[in-house]
Amino acid sequence: MKKSAESEYEKGKKHWESSFGEEPVQDVDFSTVSSESVKPLYGPDDMADLDYLRDLGFPGEYPFTRGVYPTMYRGRFWTMRQFSGFGTARDTNGRYHYLLDHGQTGLSVAFDMPTIMGYDSDHPRSEGEVGRCGVAIDSLRDMEILFDGIDLSKITTSMTINAPASILLAFYLCAGEKKGARSDQVGGTIQNDILKEYIAQKSWIFPPEQSMRLITDIMAFCSDHVPRWNTISISGYHIREAGSTAVQELAFTLADGFAYVEAGIAAGLDVDVFAPRLSFFFNAHLDFFEEIAKYRAARRIWAKRMKEKYGAKDPRSLLCRFHTQTAGCTLTAQQPENNIVRTAFQALSAVLGGTQSLHTNSMDETLALPSEKAVRSALRTQQLIACETGVINTIDPLAGSYFIEAKTREMEEKAEEYFAKIDEMGGVVKAIEAGFFQREIGRSAYEYQKAVERQRKIVVGVNRFQLEDEAIEIPILRIDPHVEIEQRNAVRKVRTDRDNDKVSRELTRLGKAAAGTDNLMPIIVDCARCYCTEGEIIAALKEVFGEYQEPPIF
């Protein structure tokens, strides 16, 4: 900038500042939903030191701030992937065919709580929970039914499963094998992010060290046998849903990612062998621009650290590819139709932030699992964004916005502060054991709740614009209690129909291997193939690994 121009700019800025200062402003909280301050105006001086090639680069090029692929949505749209599962495998298979018939392009399995926690449907702890908040899967038999009529070599499947991820992956591979899809043909993702379970989602089974061993075993196994599989979906979604701020979501998620990279390296793997199969999963929350900045910052931070700190050479190791889901915790039971609008704004932020795949929540999810009609509107929301709004025409359209670039930088800096703090505590596992993340998230959640109750943060239909005596009248999906009985009988039948000598041999072999250092994945696949149930495999591992307990703090 020339000196005269500069002074013209300064003059103009001072003039505006004094005009702004003279006018009254509304008594409204102008901070983000995460309570980060926002200035009324951003300008060239907010990105004066921005270096285009160093900080942004071109799409598909380091540091990938503008997107992980050169073509982005001109090449293909994001994958429209609705997370779905309820009742028995047969019930959910019907929903998958429905979604595929309506233009969905990938599958995403929601499991019930017993499956997530490693109990068979006939275990006493499963009572009342079978098929309730996801589909019940006990053995390979259920997995075969789940994907009946679906070509596993053509579609990719994401499975939201963590502590027992190795087992569900084994079921999937065996189901593929039986249907003629080889393990080097199938593609998909297991969430397999145990660190965020201890931090936020709280569905753990084994202690951290043993859990990390299972994860590095999966990474090694998949790089040899299942090259198209994303071995971990490092998830900020649940951290955010548990009440964190946007910066905490960003920082804790990437910190978990770095911890997996370090674990892989410590297990003797070459970073470029496993890092290309790591992917991420973020939340799309309410604050539109803050979210877009978050996704852009995530790509830049990941690329820089992978290159500079971990010495990754393969460009694919540097890519922060991510799935996004709109924020379930922002949906309201009151005036549920408003949730369609909320979800649309959130989904738009994910698309403007360059997501690789997207789940849009349904309007009725504060009350139950979504009905067919509600989930169709949610899918249509994505199709509207892709086909009608025009936002896909150009890549990273908000780049160069004074506000977006300043915010992206600010989030990166704040995340770096958290990384330093976590390092000081001795890393992610130590910080979990000290309750650090849990306390930070719990505090943010409570602060937000108080801000809502003081009317500093507005929730339309809840603390403003309410309806008097609103009756909630939308049809909701009900799970027939008979599902539990049916599923209990089904798993018992599996146990009588199989070769039980083989089953006990394989389970014994697994227990022995767990006590040693061999990769457990091939043995878990053998167990799956002879119809060992999930609960049996978990029990064999628990014998050796023990179970994790969290001290109850609030």
Binding site: S126, G128, K202, G243, T366, L367, A368, A445, E453, F554
Partner: protein, 133 residues
Amino acid sequence: MARKIRVLIAKPGLDGHDRGAKVVANALRDAGMEVIYTGLHQTPEMIVESAVQEDVDVVGLSILSGAHMTMFPRIMDLLREKGAAYIKVVGGGIIPEEDVKRLESMGVAKVFGPGTDTRDIVDFLKNNFQHAA
């Protein structure tokens, strides 16, 4: 002077969503109640045992996994079996309206749905369970 209300906040079943439970626990504590939190993955037996042992006035159950029609009645039954039916039960979570009515008709004192102001929970507990010392 009134005795402080003692509350057990509990997470029954396998569900790990503890945001709501913790927010409510904090709000009740800040409102001057004595709050005990069970932690996660509790069986009905464990919850009732804690409730009796801790001599609470009220148990607050948080369930988001859809298992509420199993967990609430089981806990109410166990409280009766232990001769502790004087301990009241309230709850919250992802619970459809129809089930709220059924639970309240079974004797659950109140089910607080999504979007509830924590001050309404505080007021409800104070108005209904505040005993003289």
